[in-house]
């Protein structure tokens, strides 16, 4: 299994600002994923980040709002841009298990509160 860390673990931000969340993995992985977990709800996939290519966004999520970087096989960032209170969520990154079985390992999450 992979060990995943995220920074920051939590933050309180003002409306209109942006926050960049970092995800670091202890091994090289092909695919990294970013999820959002809104209060009291399940996980929703924001985008898939592959090294060396543009991230693939799910319906309802756009690159201008959630730009993603994937500079190498162990690191990715997600930026939440021009934040509003509706962006208050837990943001999680995950990595695949190096196979086609879809087993994923999750980071501890970043709890974002927008005031």
């Amino acid at each position: 299994s992979a060990v995943i860390s995220q920074k920051p673990s939590r933050d309180i931000c003002q409306r209109g600002t942006s926050l960049t969340i970092q995800c670091q993995v202890d091994s090289q992985v092909t695919m990294m994923f970013w999820y959002r977990q809104q209060p009291g709800q399940s996980l929703t996939l924001i985008a898939t980040a592959n090294q060396g290519s543009e991230a693939t966004y799910e319906s309802g999520f756009v690159i201008d709002k959630f730009p993603i970087s994937r500079p190498n096989l162990t690191f990715s960032t997600l930026t939440v841009s021009n934040m509003s209170p509706e962006d208050s969520s837990i943001y999680l990154c995950s990595v695949d298990s190096q196979g086609l079985t879809s087993e994923q390992y999750f980071g501890p999450g970043t709890r974002l509160t927008v005031t």
């Binding site: 996980l43 087993e103 501890p108």
Partner: protein, 112 residues
Amino acid sequence: AQSVSQHNHHVILSEAASLELGCNYSYGGTVNLFWYVQYPGQHLQLLLKYFSGDPLVKGIKGFEAEFIKSKFSFNLRKPSVQWSDTAEYFCAGSKEGNMLTFGGGTRLMVKP
């Protein structure tokens, strides 16, 4: 559209009671199924997984799940719950590639 649904949103049990959490999926064909658990203040952890073979899979902490293809179900079970099982449980599935779809989650509270 492919989806995963969990019908029990909140479950309250006493210690030693038996647990069964429902999960249904809408995929056709080959499917990979998972149960994840999120303990209070902790991150998501994989409880168990089904890819193929024996439809009864055993996971960590005494949990098991049964894949019933005819019912499109993958229910999670534990014969005797403990207070430490209090957590939120998520069923997830995928059909191809690495795209996981999560169910809405079930919050389990075990009373000591």
